[in-house]
């Protein structure tokens, strides 16, 4: 909220308190001041009188003037269209520093100019508060002003506005009077509010009917004032309102606004003659429409609280009054309404009709239950003083303002334990007294009586916070918790995630984090998408309606983005959990694009193909403790997401663990991607798998014998079958089978392929003899011929 220092100074003495100091103190006490803005800025500004004014001979828009500034008469060339002899004006003398310029003595087209006649815009007044004429021309002042006076203070433009960010608990700061209490307490200064208690109590007998027919309006007070005079507001009131950005309309309307800003209680004034009947009844459940003060027609919802008179809607409660009964120049009598409405209902209605008014904001945040009385007293008094109010009738009410104040207690020990301080009883009592909490101490327990406007104080901890705020946290010395030592660590899931990330980075991939909210289309593709993806009731857009149920669908966007930005070769990965209602599943996914370029000129370039993806999966799994003999790569034929013949379903212990492979060419085209390989793994499953432990096994010191063979087999024979057949020849004599060439072409028969293998024979207990090796080799050939219909290839 915006607080004018000048206005605040009417209630609490701000002498010798600079705006910046006030702002700092408020900020450190929890009222964050976000802006300290003088309403006008400029040095060397005085009131002057134009004593001579003539068109500039060399210009079609400039004027030559002589301006009396008291101790001298200045020659000033002025460009304003409205300058004229006899005007009282604001003059910036030579040396004046204005927001945009510094004034220097100059010569404009042959004429001396020693100063500038200012518009309000030029001295920094908010353009929103100015008319077009004021923005385009100089400000013409009251002719009664005395020449030579300092301009800003004379014109009341030396005010400073503090922009305070309110925390939701301190709704009391919607009332300037509460801000005054806070400032008074912080600076230990007396607060004097112009509140004449019970001023509105008296009045002649009234025929006004006031009633509430809904629990959403527990309190409503009304008061008829039979005669008022509509006229302009007094200067000080107009200035105060304008300073905080509120337009002055007339004395009566301004009083309702002024009192709302002072007390926080929104008031509504109806034109007494325009009410359909001398009654105000609050209802809900209506479903007509209403034309509000701003002229717009709003349809009503049955939950809205509506002010009615003779069964006609005359106001949307707490938000805006009706057009039909508004105060205007012809108003002679008024009815004042002050009420409390359900904050949540006002919030809902205000949101629905998209009207956030000064009044609605206050109702939403919550009102001091006693502010109705304060506001009625203050408004009546101001109406008497500035609107010649007469024929004041008694106040009529439905519901009664509770005058009970609640009490909250706190132990001094509790204060110091929770804050970690050593506050004395005396200072605690002093703080509570300054806050008007009327503290009473008994054996270290302090009982406070909470003023009605402090809605935020309900438990001991709230009182402790007040002490903390007032002593300030600057001197609070930091300590560390004293407690039994605990061990900090990652759990298995977190540790696995970290390991996966480190390994993936080591493979040359960049980690990405993509949005969890996706378009519905993305929930229907990808690797084993979770069933029943959750969707949002009210999403930001259709693009972000669903909670993703697989990773790759959304990561493809990232791949496409980078390819579109001419980044061709990359690997990206993401580790994330997937969520639907009551399901939380950890996944890992990666996309490889282009090639792995270790050194291009040395031809150390690895294509990112199916085998690269398979390698990543195998390396990850073996590093995480899954022996590769447990892992299978099964055909993924029929896939529409992956290339059906260049992708595989990964299984561990025969259970599906994920899918890897090349993207389906049709999908790649649809996603504007050039071919990528990718994979998504349900790493959640690793958490329940038995994983290998690190264990020492002795090094085999027996000599090994290596034999190369080349086999010609049918195209359809998979290499894994060859390995299997060979390994079956001897479990403990064949240490490894390595494929080192695969050939298909002119040199082998059509429909066949040649596979070259390196076989290592080794026993672990003796050196293999020549006969043993020959026997093993022959057995190997034999097994391949028999089991695979293979022929030995002669080089």
């Amino acid at each position: 909220m915006k607080v004018s220092m000048q206005w605040l100074g009417r209630y609490v003495d701000l002498t010798n308190i600079k705006a910046e100091d006030l702002a700092d103190k408020l900020t450190l006490a929890g009222l964050e001041v976000e802006g300290v803005d003088p309403i006008a800025q400029g040095t060397n500004l005085v009131i002057g009188e134009v004593v001579f004014c003539e068109a500039h001979p060399e210009s079609d828009h400039l004027s030559i003037t002589k301006v009396n500034v008291g101790d001298e008469v200045l020659d000033i060339v002025c460009g304003a269209p409205n300058v004229a002899k006899g005007q009282k004006v604001i003059v910036a003398k030579v040396g004046a520093v204005l927001p945009e310029i510094t004034i220097k003595a100059s010569n404009i087209k042959g004429q001396a100019s020693n100063g500038m006649i200012c518009s309000l815009l030029e001295i920094g007044i908010n353009p929103k508060a100015l008319s077009e004429d004021q923005k385009n021309g100089i400000e013409v002042l009251d002719p009664r002003l005395e020449v030579g006076q300092e301009a800003l203070s004379t014109l009341g433009l030396d005010d400073v506005i503090l922009d305070i960010k309110q925390t939701p608990n301190r709704s009391d700061f919607n009332a300037l009077w509460s801000v005054a209490y806070e400032v008074g307490a912080l600076f230990n200064r007396e607060v004097n509010l112009p509140w004449q208690k019970d001023f509105a109590l008296k009045g002649s007998k009234s025929d006004l009917i006031i009633a509430s027919e809904t629990p959403k309006c527990p309190l409503i007070y009304g008061k008829k004032i039979g005669r008022v005079t509509i006229k302009p507001s007094p200067e000080w009131m107009r200035r105060d309102l304008e300073a905080v950005g509120m337009k002055s309309i007339n004395n009566v309307v301004d009083i309702s606004n002024y009192v709302m800003l002072e007390t926080g209680q929104p008031l509504h004034f109806y034109d007494g003659a325009k009410l359909p009947k001398m009654e105000i009844i609050v209802k809900d459940g209506l479903s007509e429409s209403i034309t509000t003060l701003d002229g717009s027609e709003l349809p009503l919802d049955s939950s809205d609280i509506v002010i009615t008179s003779n069964n006609q809607a005359i106001g949307l409660a707490g938000i805006m009054g009706g057009e039909d009964s508004k105060i205007d120049e012809s108003t002679q009598s008024i009815v004042i309404e002050a009420a409390q409405f359900s904050p949540s209902q006002i919030r809902h209605t205000s949101r629905r009709v998209n009207l956030l008014t000064e009044a609605s904001q206050r109702f939403v945040k919550g009102l001091d239950p006693q502010s109705i009385l304060k506001a009625l007293d203050r408004a009546t008094e101001l109406l008497v003083e500035y609107a010649d109010a007469q024929m004041i009738e008694e106040t009529i009410n439905s519901g009664e303002v509770s005058k009970d104040l609640h009490k909250v207690s706190v132990h001094l020990q509790h204060i110091n334990d929770l804050l970690g301080t050593e506050v004395s009883l005396a200072s605690a009592l002093d703080i509570f007294s300054r806050l008007h909490f009327s503290p009473v101490e008994k054996e270290g327990c302090i009982e406070c009586t909470i003023p009605s406007y402090r809605l935020d104080i309900s438990v001991a901890e709230d009182l402790i916070e007040e002490v903390g705020r007032f002593i300030g946290y600057a001197d609070l010395k930091g300590s560390l918790p004293v407690m039994p030592t605990t061990q900090g660590s990652y759990d298995a899931r977190q540790a696995m995630r970290q390991r996966l990330r480190q390994l993936s980075v080591g493979f040359g991939m960049n980690e990405v984090i993509t949005y969890s909210l996706v378009h519905e289309d993305k929930t229907k593709m990808g690797v084993y998408p979770l069933d029943n993806p959750a969707s949002l009731l009210s999403p930001l857009s259709e693009e972000r309606r669903f909670i993703r149920n697989n990773l790759l669908a959304s990561m493809l966007e990232t791949a496409a983005y980078n390819q579109a930005h001419k980044i061709k070769d990359f690997g990206i990965f993401e580790v994330s959990n997937l969520n639907t209602i009551a399901i939380n599943q950890e996944r890992y996914a990666f996309i490889l694009s282009g090639q792995y370029e270790r050194s291009i000129w040395q031809k150390q370039v690895l294509p990112y193909d199916y085998y690269a993806a398979k390698g990543i999966v195998e390396r990850l799994l073996s590093e995480l403790g899954v022996n590769l003999s447990r892992v299978r790569f099964d055909s993924n034929e029929g896939s529409t997401f992956f290339h059906p013949l260049r992708s595989a379903i990964v299984k561990i212990d025969n259970k599906v663990f994920g899918v890897i492979g090349e993207i389906h060419p049709k999908l790649a085209k649809a996603q504007d991607l050039s071919t990528v390989v990718m994979g998504e793994l349900i790493i959640e499953q690793l958490l329940s798998l038995k994983l290998a432990k690190v264990r020492f096994s002795p090094v085999n010191k027996m000599p090994a014998v290596v034999r190369d063979i080349a086999l010609v087999v049918d195209e359809a024979v998979m290499v894994s079958e060859i390995e299997k057949v060979i390994k079956a020849v001897s479990k403990d004599r064949i240490q490894s089978v390595q494929i080192f060439d695969v050939y298909q072409g002119d040199k082998v028969e059509a429909g066949k392929k040649s596979i070259a293998l390196k076989i290592v024979y080794q026993a672990n207990d003796h050196t293999l003899s020549e006969e043993e090796i020959t026997q093993l080799y022959n057995n190997t050939i034999e097994a391949c011929k028999k089991g695979l219909n293979a022929q030995l290839r002669i080089a």
């Binding site: 560390l480 909210l517 959750a534």
Partner: protein, 341 residues
């Protein structure tokens, strides 16, 4: 005879390569070589002269052999040097550098914070992103009808389930799981979601880390000491922090925590909007209602809690100007984050 030695040594010296040297060796030391011929002349000498003559020829032979050996070594060395020179390569050609990827900046910051707290004995607790309204709001002391629960700010899935709006949901679950047992000493990292339009400073999805300590006589001073260490760990040893009273439903008293600006050291700069301070955390003492609802007795135990936005720390630490960079995953952006701390 003197000449044989002199000429021999000169001939050895004149050799340019091992082939020449072998020829010279043959000329002098082979079976028909000059030294052998000298030795052959001995038989023609008188017996008394033979020993002296023989010794002299032997002397010549040894001298030549020694010279051959030295020359041979020198020539071998020279030949090796020539070979070595042939092996010269262009040292400036690009290397075959192993590829190393990058961790996402949010992961880097999150891990750094997690490890800082693990070092102080905190456990890392997580929870579901699709959360019950109950844990996200009710247990966090945010009652029905509180503005924070509006559709306006929260992604609801149905009346009961929502996308968690803060990691406080993990705290409320964790507190419940401890069943009133102290100490509780955890940090709770995770993705959270709010209905904000994405712009340079807002993201509908972001990462929060909250911390929670509940024990015997835990105080606001303990919170300050803990966060002072964190601020220094993240932003440098010279950092100081400042508590400003604030308001959160979950805590009472509540504070906003500012860290002295790491760019200007508190003098004022664009990063800290000239204030010298950067707001970085919300924190406070766990509200008695929260403790009570989770089965702790606020008369007997107390606790502190704090929360920070990982994006905000990443933006500040690395000088990133737009939060959306973090979710665009442009590789040119990601490749900035190569040095891990």
């Amino acid at each position: 005879m003197e000449n044989v030695l002199k000429e021999g040594l000169l001939a050895i010296e004149a050799c340019q390569n091992l082939g020449d040297l072998q020829n010279v060796r043959n000329e002098y030391l082979s079976k028909k070589g000059l030294v052998t011929q000298l030795m052959g002349k001995m038989k023609d000498l008188p017996a008394e002269d033979k020993p002296a003559y023989g010794a002299q020829v032997n002397q010549i032979k040894q001298s030549l052999e020694a010279a051959f050996k030295l020359k041979e070594e020198a020539l071998q060395e020279a030949a090796f040097d020539v070979q070595l020179q042939k092996g010269k390569i262009d040292l400036s050609l690009p290397s075959a550098m192993p590829l190393v990827g990058t961790l996402h900046p949010l992961t880097i910051v999150q891990t750094e914070i997690e490890q800082f707290f693990m070092g102080m004995g905190y456990l890392v607790k997580e929870g579901p992103e699709v959360e019950l309204d109950y844990y996200n709001f009710e247990r966090a002391n945010i009652p029905q009808d509180h503005p924070a629960r509006d559709m306006q700010d929260t992604f609801y899935i149905n009346a009961e389930w929502l996308l968690r709006t803060h990691t406080t949901a993990i705290q409320t679950r964790t507190l419940e799981a401890y069943k009133g047992e102290i100490p509780v000493k955890v940090i709770c990292p995770g993705k959270v979601f709010r209905k904000d339009d994405d712009d340079a400073t807002h993201s509908h999805q972001f990462v929060q880390i909250e911390g929670l300590v509940v024990g015997d006589k835990i105080s606001l001073a303990d919170l300050k000491g803990t966060l002072e260490l964190l601020a220094r760990h993240l932003f440098g040893e010279a950092r100081v922090i400042r508590f400003r009273p604030s308001y959160f439903q979950f805590t009472e008293p509540s504070v906003e925590v500012d860290v002295s600006c790491h760019i200007c050291n508190g003098k004022g700069c664009p990063t800290c909007k000239q204030s010298g301070w950067i707001e970085i955390l919300g924190a406070g003492m766990v509200h008695p209602n929260v403790l009570r609802m989770a089965g702790f007795d606020p008369e007997k135990v107390s606790g502190f809690a704090f929360g920070l936005g990982v994006e905000r720390v990443a933006l500040l630490k690395y000088g990133i100007d737009d939060i959306r960079h973090l979710y665009t995953n442009d590789l040119r952006f990601l490749n900035n984050f190569r040095r891990f701390e």
